[in-house]
C-alpha cells in the first residue's frame, strides 16, 4: 500500500518537498545576509532591517496558496479521481481492505503534508526571529507572521488536505471537488483573518493611560498603528479607544470632540478621559498557535469522519 500511495502521488509529494526545500534555502540565505548587513551598519540599523523585512513580508499574503494547492492537488483527486474513472472498483477489490487502503493513504499523505508544513513553519519561525525588534515584526502581533510561523501552517495544510479528500468523497467528481475545495478553503482562511475570531482565543489584557504621549501627530493614537506603537513589543492589538471617568468606552463623536489638533492629548486629559488598549502580549504566541492548531485539528477530524462514512 505504501508503494501504491507513493506511485500514485509521487508528483505531488516531490513538488511539495521541492517547494519546502526552496523556501528553506531562500529564507536561510535571506536571514544570513540580513544579519551580515545589519551588523555591518553603524547607523540606520532599524531602517535597513525594515527594508529587508519588507522584501519577504509583502509576499506573506500569499501564504494562503500552498495549503490551497495541497487541497486541490493532493486532497481532491485522492477519492474523486478513483470514483470518476471507476478505478475504485479495482482498488477496493484487492487483498487490501477498504479501511486499510484509506488508512494508509490518509495517514501516509497526511503525515507528509504535516511534516512539510512543520518544516515550512519552523523555517519561517527562525527567520522571523531576526526581525523581532520591528513594530510589525512580532510573530503574534503581525497576523501574516502568525499564519506563516510555528505549527499553524502545518495545521492549515493538513486541514486543506482533508477538506479536499472530503469534497472528493462527497461529490465523487474531480472538477466539482476541486471547485468546492477552492471556495470553502478560501472563505475559511480569509474569513478567519477578516473576522476577530483569533482575538478571542484568550481574554485580552488592558492597559490604561491617563496621560498618553505620542510621537508625531497626536490624534494618530486613534489609528491601529498609533495604538500598536504604545503597546509592549510584539503584542497583538485587540482594540483601543478612550474611557470616561466611569470607565465606559467613548463613542466615536466623543472621541473626536477635541478635533484632530496639536493639543488633542491635553484636551482629552482635561475632559477626564483616559486612553486604553486591549492587547495580547507576545508571550501568548504559543498558546494562540496551539489554540488555532487545535481548532483546525478538530475540524480535520470531523472531515475525516465524513470521509470514513462515505467510504464504508
Amino acid at each position: 500500500m505504501v508503494w501504491v500511495t507513493w506511485r500514485q502521488h509521487r508528483v505531488q509529494v516531490l513538488a511539495a518537498l521541492a517547494f519546502v526545500v526552496l523556501v528553506g534555502v531562500l529564507l536561510l540565505v535571506h536571514g544570513v545576509r540580513t544579519d551580515a548587513l545589519v551588523t555591518s551598519l553603524d547607523h540606520g540599523r532599524q531602517d535597513a532591517l525594515a527594508a529587508q523585512f519588507g522584501q519577504v513580508a509583502r509576499l506573506l499574503i500569499w501564504s494562503v496558496v500552498p495549503p490551497m494547492l495541497i487541497g486541490l492537488f493532493w486532497g481532491a483527486p485522492l477519492l474523486a479521481r478513483e470514483y470518476e474513472r471507476g478505478t475504485h472498483w479495482l482498488a477496493w477489490t484487492q487483498s487490501v481492505s477498504r479501511p486499510a487502503w484509506l488508512g494508509v493513504k490518509l495517514a501516509g499523505l497526511g503525515a507528509v503534508v504535516t511534516a512539510a508544513g512543520l518544516v515550512f513553519g519552523l523555517a519561517m519561525y527562525v527567520w522571523a526571529a531576526e526581525f523581532g525588534s520591528l513594530p510589525t515584526g512580532g510573530r503574534l502581533g503581525n497576523p501574516d507572521l502568525f499564519l506563516a510561523t510555528g505549527i499553524v501552517p502545518a495545521a492549515w495544510w493538513l486541514f486543506a488536505f482533508m477538506l479536499g479528500v472530503a469534497a472528493g468523497a462527497v461529490l465523487r467528481k474531480l472538477l466539482s471537488a476541486v471547485a468546492v475545495t477552492l471556495a470553502v478553503f478560501f472563505l475559511v482562511y480569509v474569513g478567519m483573518s477578516a473576522s476577530d475570531v483569533r482575538l478571542a482565543y484568550a481574554a485580552p489584557m488592558r492597559v490604561v493611560d491617563a496621560a498618553p504621549v505620542v510621537r508625531g501627530e497626536p490624534s494618530s493614537i486613534n489609528t491601529p498603528a498609533g495604538a500598536q506603537g504604545r503597546l509592549p513589543n510584539g503584542a497583538l492589538l485587540a482594540g483601543a479607544g478612550w474611557l470616561d471617568s466611569h470607565g465606559t468606552p467613548l463613542a466615536d463623536d466623543e472621541t473626536w470632540a477635541c478635533g484632530s489638533t496639536s493639543d488633542y492629548l491635553p484636551c482629552m486629559r482635561d475632559k477626564g478621559y483616559s486612553w486604553f488598549a486591549d492587547y495580547h502580549p507576545a508571550d501568548r504566541y504559543w498558546r494562540f498557535q496551539w489554540t488555532e492548531a487545535g481548532l483546525l485539528f478538530v475540524a480535520t477530524l470531523v472531515l475525516g469522519a465524513v470521509v470514513w462514512r462515505h467510504i464504508r
Binding site: 508528483v11 547607523h43 540606520g44 532599524q46 531602517d47 494547492l69 486541490l72 492537488f73 483527486p77 479521481r81 474513472r85 474531480l174 472538477l175 466539482s176 476541486v178 471547485a179 477552492l182 480569509v190 477578516a194 510621537r215 508625531g216
Partner: protein, 271 residues
C-alpha cells in the same frame, strides 16, 4: 453544438454567474469594507482558466471521449470553433460585467482604477481580456498536457507568472511624466512608477549621499535642507484608456499565440 456546449459546461456558467452575484452583493453590502477581499480580484480570472479552459480538451482526451465527440456529424474544426467561440464569448462577457461592477464600486467608494494595480486589470476592457486570456491559457494547457490535473497545475503556474510579469510591465507602457517637488502636484488618480532625488547641482541620483545619521522622522527635513529635491515619475489618469488598450492587446496576442498551436495540433492529430 450550442446545446452540447451548454450541457457540458453549464456548471461552469452557472457557478461563474454565482461568483459574480456574490461579489456584487458583497460590494453593495460591505461598501469600503470589501476592499481587502477585492484585493484578490487579479487572481479571479485564473478560475476561468482552471475550470473553463483546462477541462475543455483535457477531460475529453483523458477519458477518451474525444473519439466519440469527433466522429459525429459535426466536424472537428466546427466542434472546436463552437466550443472556443461560445465559451470564450461567455467568459469575456463575465469579465466585462465584473469590470463594470468594480468600476461602479470604485466610483462609489472613491478608489483608484488606474493607480491601484489590482484594480486596473479588473476594470475596463482589460477585465474581459484577462478572463479570455486565462480561458485560452487553460484550454491550451489541456490540449498540450492532455490530462486534467497537470493541465490545471500548468495553468495556475503560467497564470501567476504572467500576472507578475504584466504588473512589472505596466510601468513601461508609455514614457512617464516627471514631477519635481518644487512645482505644483496635481491631485487625482495616477500611477506612480518611480522616484529619484535631484542634487543641488541638478543631477539625478537614487539616494542622497547626505543625512546618513538622520533617523526616520528627521530624514526628509534634513535632505530638503541640504538642497535636494525629490523627483516622481508617474503616468497621469488620462493614460487610462491607452493603457487599457495596450494591456488588452498584449493579452489577446498572448492568447492567440497560446491557442494557435493547440488548435493546429487538435485538428491535425489522428483521433
Amino acid at each position: 453544438m450550442m446545446w452540447l456546449t451548454w450541457r457540458q459546461h453549464r456548471a461552469q456558467v452557472l457557478s461563474t454567474a454565482g461568483v459574480l452575484l456574490v461579489v456584487g452583493v458583497l460590494m453593495l453590502v460591505q461598501g469600503d469594507g470589501a476592499a481587502t477581499l477585492l484585493g484578490w480580484l487579479p487572481v479571479l480570472p485564473m478560475l476561468a482558466g482552471i475550470f473553463w479552459g483546462a477541462p475543455l480538451l483535457a477531460r475529453e482526451l483523458e477519458r477518451g471521449t474525444h473519439r466519440l465527440a469527433w466522429t459525429q456529424s459535426v466536424t472537428r474544426p466546427r466542434w472546436l470553433v463552437a466550443k472556443l467561440g461560445w465559451l470564450g464569448l461567455a467568459v469575456t462577457v463575465a469579465g466585462l460585467a465584473l469590470g463594470l461592477m468594480v468600476t461602479a464600486w470604485l466610483t462609489e467608494t472613491g478608489g483608484d482604477h488606474f493607480g491601484d494595480s489590482a484594480m486596473f486589470g479588473a476594470t475596463g476592457i482589460a477585465a474581459g481580456a484577462w478572463w479570455l486570456f486565462a480561458f485560452l491559457l487553460g484550454a491550451s494547457a489541456g490540449g498540450l498536457v492532455r490530462r486534467l490535473l497537470p493541465a490545471m497545475a500548468v495553468t495556475i503556474v503560467v497564470f501567476v507568472v504572467v500576472l507578475f510579469g504584466i504588473f512589472q510591465a505596466r510601468d513601461v507602457y508609455a514614457e512617464p511624466q516627471r514631477w519635481v517637488s518644487d512645482s505644483e502636484w496635481e491631485a487625482g488618480d495616477k500611477l506612480v512608477t518611480g522616484g529619484a532625488w535631484l542634487t543641488p547641482s541638478g543631477a539625478e541620483v537614487d539616494e542622497p549621499d547626505v543625512c546618513a545619521d538622520a533617523d526616520n522622522r528627521t530624514y526628509l527635513t534634513c535632505v530638503r535642507e541640504a538642497g535636494y529635491r525629490s523627483v516622481t515619475y508617474y503616468q497621469p489618469a488620462t493614460q487610462y484608456w491607452r493603457f487599457q488598450w495596450t494591456e488588452t492587446g498584449i493579452l489577446l496576442l498572448g492568447a492567440v499565440l497560446l491557442a494557435g498551436p493547440v488548435v493546429y495540433r487538435v485538428l491535425r492529430r489522428p483521433v
